[in-house]
Every structure is written in C-alpha cells, then in structure tokens.
Amino acid sequence: MRYLRYILKRLCVFIPLFLIVSLIVFFALRFSGVDPITVMLGERQATPEVMAALRAQYYLDDPLISQYLRWIGNAVTGDFGVDYINHQSVSTLIAQRLPITLGLVILSIVIGTILSVALGVLSSVREGRPTDRTISVAVLILVSVPPFLLAIITLLLLSVFAPSVGFIGAINSVSDYWARIPLPAFVLSLNMVAIVTRVTRSSMIIQLKSQYTSTALAKGLPAKMVIWKHAFRNALIPVLTIVSIFAGTSISGAVLVESVFSLPGLGGLLTQAIKTNNYPIVQSALLVLLLVFLVIGLVTDLIYAAVDPRIRKSGKGITA
C-alpha cells in the first residue's frame, strides 16, 4: 500500500522531468542555426514557391512553441513524423534499431550486475584471503582498460580463435539477434563490473561488520542467510546507486560498441543523422535515448524503495 503510493509519487516527478528533457532537446536543436530547408534541398535549387510549400509541410512558419507541442503531442502517441531527407517515417527507423540498443543496454546491465555482485560478495566474505586478492587484481586490470579497447581486443581475439562467428550484416531473425547481442553486451558490461565489484565488496564488508549481522549470527541463523538476506540487502543500496549511474553511461557506451561490432542500432542512426543535419531523426532518437535514461532512474528508485522501507516512508527518490 505504502509502496503503491510511493510509485505514484515517483511517477508524478517523472512526467514533468520527461517534458523538461524534451523541451531541452527540441530547443537546443532549433537554436543550432541550421536551416531545415537547406538540409532538405541538399544540392538542389528551388523556387521560393517550392520552399514556401516545404515550410508549410513541416509547419516551419508556426511559432516554435506550437511546433514543439505538435512534435511532443505526436511523439507520445508514437508518431515522430518523417525525416527531412528521405521522408521516411522516423518512428519506423527508430523501431527497427531500438531493440538492438535497448538489448545491449539491458543485457549489459543484467550481466554486469550479476557478475559484479557475485564477485563482490565472494570477495567480501573472503576478505584478505587469496580469492579476494585475485579478484581485486583482476578488477584493477579491468578498470584501467578503456571500453573501446576492450571491444577491439575482444574482436581481435574472436577473429583469431573463432573466425566462424559472424559480425556483419543485417539482423533478420530472433536467432540472429541472440547470436550477436550477448557478446557485445558482455564487453559493454566489463567496465561496470570493475567498479561495481569494488563497491559491492566494500559495502558488504561494512555490513558484515555491523551489529545486526552479529545479532543474526547470535540468534542462530545459518551464515548463508546472514550474508544474503541480511548483509547483502543492506549492502545493495550503494550498489544500486552505482549500477544506475553505469546504466546511464552504458547508453553512450552502447553507441560505441554498436559501431565496433557493426550492429545496426540507434547509435549509427543518430550519428548519421547528425552528420546530415537530419533533425527529425536527431531530436526523436535523442528523446528515446533520454527516455531510456530516465526510465532506468525510475526503476532504480523503485528498487531502492522495495529494498529500503525508510525510503518508502520518506517518499523521496535517490536519482531525481
């Protein structure tokens, strides 16, 4: 009951936040000084009448605020209009590519979280012993390698040891998808694993030394329960914070990984559109990526509140 009320409260914050973000995206692009008509015409010449017709077709003579309202109003129904150059449906373009980017981001968060929680907890219960030291060293190496290098190294290793694995071409079926997404997602998660493992370890060590852990042991609970049900759930709060930060940055990481692994995701679409000043695509793709970002924040807050009753009671979130 209290949790339901909390969800409602967070949603009330989420909606205005989304609108503010969309305003920023829209006006930032409009004030960048590029003339849409020039973009549409490209190298061609046109009479003033044709130009006026184009302006009317794209409502470019309306006041900016009504242009914004039209865009955002249609956007919430899933209609992003057509692009300036090929006059294709932006919604279709995004819908084709979103599953790849979203899949990369979500899978990398899931893989990264599971891996780093397992390693971090193991490290903490073996504090100071060989297992802990080995994990620390591995993590230190991992954290110092930049993500694009990790991606390229993986690709090189694969081409040497598993040349049969294909990494080019379109993704036409679900089996193509599952053959090509997991590895890049894993590579994308590695930097997160490095940091989150460390945070999990230190957070767990604090909780394992706390008084309530002693109470739980003293009352006769098995060590496994004390570690997972008591210490880990309390350790989760800082871990969630850092996971949510990485989840946000993994969106930009995904753009990079997509290009290294030749995946047709939103990243490619966005960079291409920016190069050609194709604003309908840029603003809508950005909006979708930022929405993913905001939803990650919202989900984090909801998990926080599910874990910690004190947050539910206060009604506040961590991320916004």
Partner: protein
Amino acid sequence: MNTLLKVSNLKVDFMTVRGIVHAVQGVDFSLNRGKTLGIVGESGCGKSVLVKSILRLHEEQKTRCSGNILFEGHNILDLSPREMLAIRGVRASMIFQDPMISLNPILKIGEQIAETFRARRSMTKGQAAEEALRLLKRVGITPAEERYHQYPFELSGGMLQRVVIAIAISLEPEILIADEATTALDMTVQKEILDLLKWLRKEKGMSLIVVTHDFGVVAEMCDSIAVMYAGKIMEYGSARQIFNDPCHPYTRALISSTPSGAKGGKLISIPGAPPELYEPQTGCAFYPRCSQAAERCRESLPAMHSASGNHVFRCERPQ
C-alpha cells in the same frame, strides 16, 4: 555439578595494522545452570571481546583465540561452522548494547524473529509468524500485532531492546548474554528491561551473563561477579563477597564510583584510564592508577590469591 559453561585460560588477540591487541589475557570462569554471572569493568577492559568469543562472533581471519570454552565438554574453539550452529541461539545467545543498531534496519521486526523459527525449527510461514507474535507479547510489546509489521526505525529504544531480547530467547537458549543491555537506555526503561531479564531467568531457568560497567546493575541481579581490568579478571567471588569484602583496589574504586555503591553518598571517580592492550604487561595493569601501588607491583605480575572459598583476587597488596 551443574556446570553449563566452563572457560579456562581464554586468550583473545587481534591482529591490527597497529600491532597485536591482547584483548583477553587468560580468563577463567564457569557458569552453573540457572545462575547469573556479572562481568564488571570500565569500558575498554575486554568484556565485550570476552563474551563475543563465547559465540565465536569475532572475525576469524584477524583473531587468534586460545584456551578452552567448554559446553558439555566440547571446546567451541574447535568446532566447525556447522557445529557452531548448534551452539548459537540454542546453547547461548546474546543481546548487545545499542538496540538501535542491533536490528536489521530494513526487515520488519516480526520477520526478524520468525525467520529463526523457519530456519531452525522448520516451521511453516504461518506457524513461525504465530510463534513470533507470541514471543513479542511475552516480552511486553503492545500492540504486538501492529508492531510485528513495523520496522526498527518506527520503535523507541526500550521497545527495540525488548525485540532484541525476544530474538535472543527465541530458540530458548540455556545461557543469555547481555552485553551492556541497558546502558544505552534511560533510567526508567533500564529498570523495565532488567525486570524483564529477571522474569525470563526465573520462568525459563536460563543462566545469565550480565556485562556492565555499572555496579548498580550487577548488585541487583548477580549470583557471582567477575571484575575485569585490562583483559584479566582482577577479582572473582559471590556478589556478597565482592560487595561486603572487596579485596582488589580496583574493585573498591569501582564500587565507590557507582552511585548505588558509594558509601555515604560520596562518588569518587577513578583517575586515569585503562591501558591500551598492545604490549603484554610486565606488572599489574592497574598499577599506574592504584592508590596502594608499590614498586613490586610494577615489576611482576600479581598472582591470584584466595580470600575465602571461591573468592579470589589478583593483587599483592590488598587491604
């Protein structure tokens, strides 16, 4: 005869970055069924370290324990983690000083009792909840049904300590260890908690180990008293022997520094502070603060002397 717990020559060292802390330096005592032992001393004297080692709650990696802690002839220092489960909660259980941090902040208090029943008594969810509720009522929590579903941050310190006690007695331990269980509470609540402990002891036939720095508390409830200083027991005897005939200067100083113990209402605090426990001591640890100190107290460790019967003390110059 009816000895539940026998501790002999127990030593506990901690490996720290600053060196080895000799927190407990060869302690002996035993506890009989239904009896209450008080362990008294200023803070930093090793009382908590001593009683925590009875349940092996120290970080094993950084701690070195030697000697014997015998439950029915088994030395718990030799038991495997699995065998320790048979000790914790069943043979002995423990209440800590600050109830605000003794409970898991994010679990409902009812669940913190019920989970033990499910894990250790193989009860179903419903049975465990019912049993937990009964226990909450037993330790005087009202309205228990409502409190069951609350979180620690929603309860007062006194209420929380009752919950902590309920948790500690849930598997009906033979020995309940209360480490400064009332120190963090205000006076009236302190008395309520002590009364609850006394009532439980009578009803359950439990043995108690009461750790405190307050002689007033031990005077009320203990059969025997161990006075601890710098990791050692300085004096041990029945409560009457310790109060009527304290032999060690430290015991006398402690008694006159507690409101209820000070004869003639005069409170005398002991100057100085207990020593740090990094180096092994060569002489009496209390020597620098002792009013009776002589040169030889600094040079050699005082031996245990017998006053009468079980009453012993570690001093070469008693009065």
